[in-house]
């Protein structure tokens, strides 16, 4: 393995190609254009690679649906307003149990908002986002290396569970450059799939649809999906625990915010404050059991997000009043420094008499 210096957007593209993704459909939107451009160049070099700049995000996600029906590993990427447009297609992907990887390099919102790093799409990503009763797996990396690793993992999870998997980043993660390593060896090939529509050669014809007019059939389909989501929730929770062993206060943050919080915690540990970090890597499924366990010995949780308070609801649901929860949010694309964050933590820490 050799290290390369890459931007997050390029690292996702390269990781996708190494995971066997040969089909990418996208539409320009800042701050993820470098990924679209990388895929245009990279897939053009590879035999069998197909890149289409679609006429809209709607068209792109529907091209994803078609390619996924045909059995391909396929990806699209966009940013907040574009992800809103893709939601119809994501609902269909879930309903038809089609694997796909969807990257959201979130920007400040609502509306056009701005192109600064934000975490304002947490609700949209973790609650399904489109219409209907469904979930997607949501992965929240916090470094370029993790963007690469989780992109490859996203394709495996998507195929394993036949579910769209969302990578939730932001413009900072997408555009910053860090050293990144890719595993040596052959590029992956998509696993064989026995449900695709490829022309009914030597087998009975198949169809893939989401229209289930009979409520009893639709209900059974919904329960089938719900059981799948339960399996995912039981098996696929990922998180990072940092300095929690003796912590009196836990900061809960994901993605870019977690990096900032970690920097703050390193600084505070040097000053003797017993603070740790819980960083959910899967935002759905959410590491609620981990939080419940922590609440057995820790009474104070500080949730820091780059939005006006979204993941904090999941923390409340997980803790069910077992501990005191504080929220610190900076919406609109504001990125604070670890020093500023350390002041926020310090003031709560001493207010609560933990020092």
């Amino acid at each position: 393995m050799s290290k390369r210096l890459m931007s997050g957007n390029h690292a996702i593209g390269e990781a996708a190609v190494r995971a066997g993704c040969r089909f990418y459909f996208g539409y320009p939107i800042t701050p993820q254009n470098e990924m679209t451009e990388y895929m245009a160049r990279r897939l053009n070099e590879i035999e069998g690679g197909v890149f289409i700049q679609a006429e809209s995000e709607l068209a792109a996600i529907n091209m994803v649906i078609g390619a996924s029906m045909a059995g391909a590993r396929v990806m699209t990427s966009s940013s907040s307003p574009g992800i809103s447009l893709k939601q119809e297609g994501i609902s269909f992907l879930c309903a038809m149990e089609l694997p796909a990887v969807i990257v959201n390099m979130t920007r400040g919102g609502p509306g056009l908002g701005n192109i600064a790093p934000a975490q304002s799409d947490y609700f949209q990503a973790t609650r399904g986002g489109g219409h209907g009763d469904y979930r997607t797996i949501v992965l929240a990396p916090s470094s370029v290396q993790e963007l690469a690793d989780l992109t490859m993992e996203a394709f495996n999870l998507a195929d394993k569970y036949r579910i769209p998997t969302v990578i939730l980043g932001d413009g900072m993660l997408g555009q910053m450059m860090e050293p990144v390593e890719f595993p040596d060896g052959e590029m992956q090939k998509p696993p064989p799939k026995d449900w695709t529509i490829t022309g009914a050669r030597g087998r009975p014809s198949r169809f893939i649809r989401s229209l289930l007019l009979d409520p009893a059939v639709e209900e059974e389909h919904n329960w089938k999906l719900a059981r799948k989501y339960e399996r995912i929730a039981a098996k696929e929770v990922r998180y990072e625990a940092y300095r929690l062993e003796d912590a009196k206060m836990v900061v809960v943050s994901f993605g870019t915010a977690a990096r900032i919080a970690k920097g703050a915690i390193k600084r505070l540990r040097e000053q003797g404050l017993k603070v740790g970090l819980l960083r959910p890597i899967t935002l759905w499924p959410f590491p609620e059991i981990v939080l419940k366990d922590l609440a057995k010995r820790i009474g104070h949780f500080l949730v820091y997000e780059m939005n006006a308070g979204q993941m904090v609801e999941d923390v409340r649901l997980a803790l069910e009043g077992r501990a005191e929860i504080f929220f610190y949010g900076r919406p609109g694309g504001v990125v604070i420094t670890p020093l500023e964050m350390s002041r926020v933590i310090t003031s709560k820490y001493y207010q609560k008499g933990l020092g």
Binding site: F23, F25, V50, I52, A54, E55, S56, L58, A59, A60, N62, M63, V64, I65, G66, A67, S68, M69, A70, G71, A72, V74, E88, G89, F92, M96, I197, T198, G199, A200, R201, G202, S205, R206, F207, I208, R209, S210, L211
Partner: protein, 249 residues
């Protein structure tokens, strides 16, 4: 005395009765597509994309692989399928609301990219499944549930000639408008579908057959009257014939 079977169900159709209303053109058009698939030996290679609308259940009838599209997105979904499986025959089956209103962008850009897909565009001038609302192809004066008193140009705008628009794109190779109002036109429709599939297989570009078809239920007319209504009210707005053929032009 031996009997010879001269007419039967095409292999590409399942043994299932159509749910379509009496006098509706969908059943005829389904059968024509299935006959062409049989005659061209494409049953194991064809992939159909049904729309939202009356024809959404087409996968109950066609004995080929099918993948349902969200409303209007057939051309984009078919693009994804075809790019992964370039040697298969990929066609969409879409109504006028699906293709000429909500799916206009997807259709125009698939045509302009010259996607090697075929679109069967069934134009009956009305949203059938939702109960007879005004379609992009509803003709002026036509009464629908959302054009009370008849489609009126200032209030409702004009019927859209999508096929002529698509012919302007450089990527479209073959576009023909037909009807299934009489045996002669039914045979012409079958020929047009066959030609459109050949154009796709030969890699010439995007192909589309628009088929004028009656919706007796929403026109509130008997089947024979509905056929006559299509002839008298739709055919001057949507003239039949080959609109574009890169092999001929």
């Amino acid at each position: 005395m031996g009997f010879q079977k001269v007419f039967g169900r095409p292999r590409a159709l399942k043994d299932a009765p159509f749910h379509y209303c009496p006098g509706c053109g969908h059943s005829i058009i389904h059968r024509l597509i299935a006959e062409v698939i049989d005659e061209m030996g494409l049953q194991e290679k064809a992939i159909g994309v049904p729309p939202a609308g009356c024809a959404v259940l087409a996968y109950y009838y066609f004995d080929i692989d099918m993948g349902e599209a969200p409303h209007g997105r057939g051309a984009a979904l078919a693009t994804g399928l075809k790019r992964v499986l370039p040697d298969r025959l990929v066609f969409t089956y879409q109504g006028d609301g699906d293709i000429a209103a909500i799916g206009t962008a997807e259709t125009i850009h698939a045509a302009n990219r010259g996607e090697r897909i075929t679109v069967i565009f069934v134009n009956n001038g009305v949203y059938g499944m939702t109960g007879g609302q005004m379609a992009p192809t509803t003709v002026l004066g036509q009464e629908t549930t959302t054009s009370p008193g008849g489609r009126e140009r200032i209030r409702d705008g004009f019927p859209l000639n999508l096929s002529e628009m698509l012919a302007l794109t450089k990527g479209s190779a073959y576009i023909e408008r037909t009807a299934v109002n009489n045996p002669k036109n039914i045979m012409k429709t079958k020929k047009a579908i066959e030609k459109a599939f050949r154009v796709q297989i030969e890699g010439l570009g995007f192909s589309l057959v628009e088929v004028l078809s009656p919706c007796p239920t929403n026109l509130k007319l008997r089947p024979v009257e509905a056929w006559r209504w299509v002839e008298e009210n739709m055919m001057d707005v949507f003239p039949l014939g080959v609109i574009k053929d890169v092999q001929r032009d």
